[in-house]
Symmetry: C2
Subunit: 321 residues, 2 copies
Amino acid sequence: MKTPPRMSRLLIVGSVAFDDLELPTGKHDNVWGGSASYAALAASLFTPIDLVAVIGEDFPESQLDTMRRHGVRTEGVERAKGKSFRWAGRYDATLSTRVTLDTQLNVFADFRPKIPGAARRAPFVLLGNIHPALQLEVLEQVEKPRLVVADTMNFWITGEPATLKKLLERVDVLVINDEEARQLGDHHNVSRAAANIRKMGPKHLVVKRGEFGALLFDPEGTFFAPAYPLEDVLDPTGAGDTFAGGFLGYLAHVDAVGGSVDRAAFRRAIVAGSALASFCVEDVGPNRLLTMTGQNLRDRLGAFKALVHVEHELDALTFLR
Amino acid sequence: MKTPPRMSRLLIVGSVAFDDLELPTGKHDNVWGGSASYAALAASLFTPIDLVAVIGEDFPESQLDTMRRHGVRTEGVERAKGKSFRWAGRYDATLSTRVTLDTQLNVFADFRPKIPGAARRAPFVLLGNIHPALQLEVLEQVEKPRLVVADTMNFWITGEPATLKKLLERVDVLVINDEEARQLGDHHNVSRAAANIRKMGPKHLVVKRGEFGALLFDPEGTFFAPAYPLEDVLDPTGAGDTFAGGFLGYLAHVDAVGGSVDRAAFRRAIVAGSALASFCVEDVGPNRLLTMTGQNLRDRLGAFKALVHVEHELDALTFLR
């Protein structure tokens, strides 16, 4: 009996790491982190994931098991000699800014992503924030993806402009934060910066604005989704990666159930990503992403809807002039 | 023949001033400014206004004429001996921060608001950002207003806490910015700060977040309206006052046409205020408020709707867990 080839839907490449977090509420060492961890755990609510990353000898097998239980395939997670990638950071009392205290690349320094056979046919690809040359290497290995989503950061924008430029020509959706958008788009006005970035390749630009929500710029205009105003934010680490994972996970899900990955789906994907990010910040590290259920998300999506809902037509107004 | 007593709908008390503005695009001296000027011009699109303020001998009669042509009654504008209130400020290149270069109170130093007879019966009252003792004096002179909206600033929050506390007990809607909300509510988390402020008196709190929109906190929950992402922002001066004027002007209009000033109307009022503020910043001083029409606003309200519109139910989603 021949086993049918398994379907790959969403490939996520990025970092899996340990974070040492100094939060205003306390210190937490050896927290499971990394852009790909957050993105995969978020997206796994919607669709099975193929994860490609590197871990060191110190990364517990039990955490890989946890990922697998959440529908994340880990064939592409390479265990290398040495220690896992580590990041240490300290947040200010308001959680609005953070400083990096330490970065140890460790096994990540020599990482060359190798995409397993089945994952090469994934129609959706999320390139987490790693060196743009590695992001390009991933694209060399995949077969005609339908949608490529990429994240990047200031470090690559200033340090690797030529490689980043090559990458951007092959990216459909760039997901970056406000400051990165202003820097890459070379304009303080985010709408103008967005127009400049979209000329570099990505048809769609998503600008993450933390507690102020997210903007989507596309060929037809602009869409805005707020962040959910939470009373208890414990740890913002990974919120942006969770957003990106939730965003693309939702689109992969729409496609899997025969829906159309169109502009309307993109808007819903932004809301889905924002909702998932609002869970991520409620607990330390990815803890909340591990405990939350689809019903939790469904409830919060209802709250999101209420948050921006206007009951009545404003455009039928009469004016005095 | 007896003239029927004229109906007063919206009383606005605040400053009328000259501003010297240093914008990244150039210097502009003697620009017509003041919180009450912006609020009145914005609100006048919806409803007739009674304005109470003080001007000096230098304030041109032609600008009072302009206000009157826009439906602003100026009986309550007192012309005092001396110079008008002046403010000078410089914006940074991104228009995101500004420094005050000079403040000259002039005739404003001895201002004691005197509310004309008809205006004392206005059901809607907007107390612009002036000394809370003066805001209280206005409330002593009016007859049972239906809705009192007030603005304040850091200067009074730290300098006049006792007087401000007395005022807040008599205010229905407080409209302040993000930083002021965190300071007055004594919490960095805006939702928690809002809950604290609402215990001080105002049932409704509107938090203005500039280019990031506005939040409404009320007994039933939270509402969010984005700011419109403009490509050309020339001068942010007065945007917050324009927002407050548009907000209350819209509610006065709803009431005048027999509508219900309920939660749904408040939400629409936030959107109307945000839309008007998006015009204000397009030109220097209040220029754009003078040239814009109801049709302009109607068109932008349509664009606002498109900005947050999600076409499809997200809460019917199926999840993997």
